[in-house]
Symmetry: C2
Subunit: 353 residues, 2 copies
């Protein structure tokens, strides 16, 4: 639908570290030497390969560097958008420190990325908020990184890749959640990650189509783990946003887990409420990419089945390319109240903006 | 709803190998000696631990052996059911030969189980059909096993555990599909399995609740793999039934995979149709366990969203315990035509009964 004139909080913008050299000013000499000596080029996953036409929105590549690496261009295309009026944009930097196997280098890279985010993004554009990049494979280091930046008003979130070493409900991650809760930060679980595990529970997929579409299953595993392993009981103020994982699978997961919890809850006595109640209270999902129901009415049914108008939050996923026309960013006609919730109010409440 | 008087094809009954000794008459002497010497008790996963009240339907344990191990009792409770009129019941024996690491022993156990199924179940009860148990971890052996029994009119299916060494679209499994297609057998992918991989794509779950509810995600991975890796293009007559994995997640998966296929199909040029078209043509799902939508209307919405009245097939899952009252086996009032399709017609067509 046409969103012109609407005030929007865009919950998923991607700022990109153009190259490892971008971070050299923020890295200790030792690591600069190490990177040069080893010819390490950084944990970037080549999200925007040259000459690949559909990885990023047309025109989003600046003269120098990859899409999302240039603030003036991002400002012009994503914040000063003519398609809607952006009140706040939340940056999720996908620099993959969680896949660096040297824990000291991973921690140093995270600090460098966050310093770079402060200097080059947050201090230059008041509409932006950002997500703290952390070495989540070493939770105590991740917690230190959160402590380092947690009081900076520009950071509203800690971003974790959905693919992880262990399910995120695992006790080992508690230091991350403790630090996030202390600083009132949302945990943003984002598409991607390369922990070493295969991308499915039955081994490696063979094509990107399978991996991409299959990521929704990984999100489901993480939601179940967070709830069943008691994260929200240990950290009752913690909030989690699921980013770029779709959302039409949510009602089915709610029904299934609620039903089985009734029969098996004696094994997880700390889970005191229906799992779907934890979901509605603690979890939000961004709208891009929409899973593409064949009928507009089906998307409305999904929202109804979730039994909540508060769970969805608008995202453009800039500079990724998920829709051809701005109207497709939210393809369903919605009544005014629900629309405003999805476009801005839900995020304003959830992120305490 | 009340199903009394309705003719039913029950697509999921479990016959149980009471103990390894049950199979000794059908095992070569070498393997009997080996089992005795090594104190191996078989690959049974202890589905029905003694004194655990909710693993099986009350009253389904015979005087000797575990629930499902006694034909007269299964006949009385599942086939001569007073809750509905069973026309045909399809046995899915869950004897876990796919988790036996010695490939020769696994193959010998499969042959023994199938011989036992013929003599003790199929030859004694004409309403029963059965599923060939195969050592799927060694596909050429599995194909030999299918060849051995494929012309027996009692076998209508090859049963595979949903958790596998590799996604089932992988080329390594082609011998299984070739043999099944040759003998006009359905591939039944059933809840469970123990291939060694963790039960989620992000590592081990910590409770049975998490593993059980999470199995739906594993089914999703297998559906994607089968379609995207081209199994139905290589074997255009192959049919697959998904058993005990729920089904309310199906519309979301259809939408997601169709959408992403449109953008990425050039990487998998053998997938010539919309993935959802393959699903509607080649895949069916059994009704137990129902994922438990909170409103009857939501289940009707799911059937509508699948855009097919042919995909669901009734199952009781006897002797497992998925519902307290028979009316809950299919909790939604459905119009006569759809009801008859789900209860019997869809299975009659799909299994060529």
């Amino acid at each position: 639908m046409n969103l012109q004139g609407y005030s929007v909080i865009d919950c998923d913008l991607h700022n990109e570290v153009a190259s490892l050299a971008t971070l050299y000013p923020y890295l200790p000499d030792h690591w600069v030497d190490y990177c040069n000596e080893s010819a390490f080029t950084g944990p970037d996953a080549n999200d925007y390969p040259k000459n690949a036409p559909i990885t990023a929105r047309p025109g989003s590549k600046p003269a120098q560097g990859s899409p999302g690496s240039d603030l003036p261009l991002l400002r012009q295309q994503a914040l000063d958008s003519v398609d809607w009026r952006v009140e706040t944009g939340i940056l999720n930097c996908a620099y993959r420190v969680a896949s660096v196997h040297n824990p000291d280098l991973a921690a140093a890279l995270a600090t460098a990325v966050n310093q770079w985010q402060v200097e080059h993004w947050l201090e230059k554009e008041p509409r932006l908020r950002a997500s703290i990049v952390v070495p989540s494979q070493t939770p105590q280091r991740a917690a230190q990184e959160i402590e380092r930046w947690g009081d900076h008003p520009g950071f509203v979130q800690v971003v974790l890749p959905v693919r992880s070493d262990a399910p995120y409900g695992n006790l080992r991650y508690d230091p991350i959640y403790a630090a996030a809760a202390k600083h009132d930060l949302v945990i943003g679980i984002h598409y991607g990650g390369a922990p070493g595990h295969p991308s499915t529970a039955v081994g490696w997929a063979v094509s990107y189509l399978e991996e991409y579409a299959g990521m929704a299953s990984v999100f489901q595993s993480q939601v179940m783990s967070l709830i069943i392993e008691g994260v929200f009981d240990r950290f009752p103020t913690l909030r989690v946003t699921l980013i770029e994982g779709g959302f039409t699978w949510m009602p089915s997961l709610m029904w299934r887990i609620d039903k089985e919890w009734k029969g098996l809850r004696h094994n997880t006595p700390w889970v005191k409420h229906l799992p779907s109640e934890y979901m509605r209270e603690h979890i939000r999902l961004t709208t891009q990419p929409i899973d593409g129901p064949t009928e507009a009415g089906y998307l409305r049914q999904i929202i109804e089945q979730m039994d909540s108008e508060e769970m969805l939050m608008f995202a453009s996923d800039y500079p990724h390319w998920q829709y051809d026309r701005p109207e497709e960013a939210l393809p369903v006609p919605l009544e005014e109240g629900v629309l405003q919730k999805i476009l801005a109010e839900n995020a304003r409440t959830f992120y305490h903006l």
